[in-house]
């Protein structure tokens, strides 16, 4: 026994000793190594195409620049790590963040590299207009817009047909009729959820409704505007009278997506990243899925929700060569041909101008069509309000759905956290 234990200890110590104390990967003379921690690894649909891109970049710049992908699975853990590194004043060489009022606070310091000058030039033409402006705060662009999200309403055309509804409802009255017809056919109309960190599916419904009530500039209105209460009333109805599943309160994205995939619910909202999942797990629902704009509640109709999902950022540096290397890499990542490769392989959309090939997924092409047909595009609640207000959204929504709060009190709960 003693021998086994002491052997184990010796082996363990030997292993510990042989791991170098610092991350000193073998480095060639003059080569610039850039660490790129990202969650685009593992089973993320962008993992492979991004890894391929980085590999070909490294080959192209052999012995000059080498980008090393540092795998950080678990998006929440990744965000915590980046936040901690920012607080310690040590940003990673290159990293990714989801732009919202909370993460835009990164701009407050000079830890981030400033791309303002570079993005004034010809590089700017690669981007879809608007996204660079959105990534600019106080005149400085300290991150590069990259992946974007688009979240139209998904509906199961088979289930609609079963209920005798031919067209996706264009107004909220038609929506109510369609919901009644679906219920009569034994189908739950919508997938909803109050759980997770942001009550994702329901937060998207709310953003759609808010857009119809307030139009393109809705997010510049304060939460005290009556339209936010009105939108809450509409959302509340989706939680009542069997308009959603019983487990919606407290349910997470697995619950709301699961019910849609299993054919229990007829309507759902999510982005193009979900295509691969549904195609693999529920081919019938995938084949029956169509996309639509939200039914009209107020004065506006035909809009979509579009938002920046991930921006690329880098640590500021005094070393001119390193700075040049970072910018070279950023321009490579955002090169339209390279973006097209990632987009087609991963099913995701980007803030860069490119044409999807003819063999892209049909549902993904539907997304592109939905974006081009949109009368206007607005952001999401979660891209317009800080993380703590977004977290309160799910709590306040549950309170409203459980009859603990009126729609007006729901909005008040959000306002209280926002102050």
């Amino acid at each position: 026994m003693r021998r086994i234990i002491s052997t184990l200890i010796v082996v363990a110590l030997a292993l510990v000793m042989t791991t170098p104390l610092m991350a000193t990967a073998p480095q060639e003379e003059g080569e610039i190594v850039l660490n790129f921690p990202t969650f685009w690894v593992g089973q993320d649909s962008k993992a492979e195409p991004i890894a391929d891109l980085v590999e070909s970049f490294n080959a192209e710049h052999a012995s000059e620049i080498r980008v090393v992908i540092e795998a950080n699975p678990d998006t929440d853990g990744y965000r915590d790590k980046i936040n901690t590194q920012m607080a310690a004043g040590q940003a990673p060489d290159i990293f990714v963040f989801a732009p919202d009022p909370t993460t835009f606070q990164y701009y407050d310091s000079d830890i981030l590299m400033d791309f303002t000058e570079e993005l004034q030039g010809s590089w700017r033409n690669d981007f879809v207009p608007g996204y660079i402006e959105e990534s600019t705060k106080n005149g400085r662009t300290k991150s590069v817009p990259y992946e974007i999200g688009l979240t139209p309403i998904w509906y199961n055309s088979e289930l609609f047909a079963q209920a005798g509804v031919d067209e996706f409802p264009a107004t909220i009255e038609e929506f109510q009729d369609a919901a009644d017809a679906l219920k009569a056919a034994g189908i739950v109309p919508t997938s909803q959820m109050t759980g997770g960190s942001n009550a994702w599916t329901s937060m998207l419904w709310y953003s759609h409704i808010v857009g119809s009530l307030g139009g393109p500039d809705v997010w510049s209105k304060p939460l005290s505007d009556p339209l936010f209460v009105e939108a809450a009333e509409v959302l509340l109805r989706m939680y009542q009278d069997g308009n959603t599943t019983r487990d919606a309160v407290g349910g997470d994205a697995g619950v709301s997506g699961g019910h849609y995939m299993a054919g229990n619910t007829a309507m759902f909202i999510n982005g193009p990243w979900y295509i691969g999942r549904i195609r693999g797990d529920a081919p019938e629902t995938y084949a029956a899925t169509r996309l639509a704009p939200a039914p009209q509640v107020g004065d506006y109709y035909g809009h979509q929700l579009g938002f920046m999902l991930s921006n690329l950022a880098a640590a500021n540096t005094d070393d001119e060569r390193k700075r040049d290397a970072v910018i070279t890499f950023m321009q490579y990542m955002t090169d339209p041909d390279n973006v097209k490769l990632v987009s087609e392989a991963a099913g995701s959309l980007f803030a860069i101008k490119y044409e999807l090939g003819a063999d892209a997924d049909p549902l993904q092409r539907e997304f592109v069509r939905a974006a081009s047909e949109a009368t206007f595009v607005i952001g999401l609640f979660s891209s317009r309000y800080p993380v703590d207000v977004v977290a309160e959204f799910g709590q306040a929504l549950a309170a409203m759905a459980l009859g603990e709060a009126t729609p007006a009190e729901f909005v008040e709960m959000l306002i209280e956290v926002n102050n």
Binding site: G250, A399, L402
Partner: protein, 283 residues
Amino acid sequence: MFLSPALILFALYFVYPLGFVFATSTLDWNGISNARFVGLRNYLDNFQSRTFQISIRNNFIWVASLGFVQISLAALVAMILARQPRGWRFFRTVYFLPNVISQVAIAMMWAALYNAEYGAINQFLELLGLEHLTHNWLGEIGTALPSILIQQVFYIGYFMIIILASIMSIPESYYSAAQIDGANVLQQEIHITLPMIRPILVTAMTLAMAYGLRHFEATFLLTNGGPAHRTSVLGIQLYKMFSALDYGHANAIGGTLVIIGLVLIAVIRSTLGRHADASDMTQ
């Protein structure tokens, strides 16, 4: 001299970080731009927030449930196993196993058990014709907190092992003497086992209560504090504030937890622990 390695590690990994926590708890700071000193403002804000009040109440419910209910159950099972019924080694191992599995997997199973639409509990009730008793267990005001509490309180494995180890090191002669005096099993447990394991029970209870104070994971995975904050605890609030880059308020929660905990430990050790200390500390 014997203490020095422990003290050095403690100074590095607790005194400095706790200093950091308390120092930043007096700041208005997002971790990035310049901090502003605000005194006890963050603490005041927290105590005035309704969510914080619910959370602190829930923390005390956790403290009581883990400290009293969980430890009692653990002690009961340990006493049964100490008498070595058939298969006791097997039971001892199996009871401990949930501690080896990642909490993520266990939480997934409980979320599935409690689910209103396809959960096993509701399906079982429907089978018995008790449909009126079905609930959206994790999504209703009245059932959410009890559901998580039950899930945690019955995972007695670790404390059971501690207590069992302590019982089994009681010299056998104590029991044979009592037997000769005609004491039955229950009397033996009350008059021999309980007093003998008292220091360990106090230790286990203190630990369980400390866990009640910093409880986070199961709630985070099952409800994230919902619905309507009803299952929230301070750990959840602290995490949310960190995520929102509100280091001042987050660390004020951290500071509050440490202070409450210190008071709690002092109270437990001066009431429950006194007897045990008095008999043992006389050198």
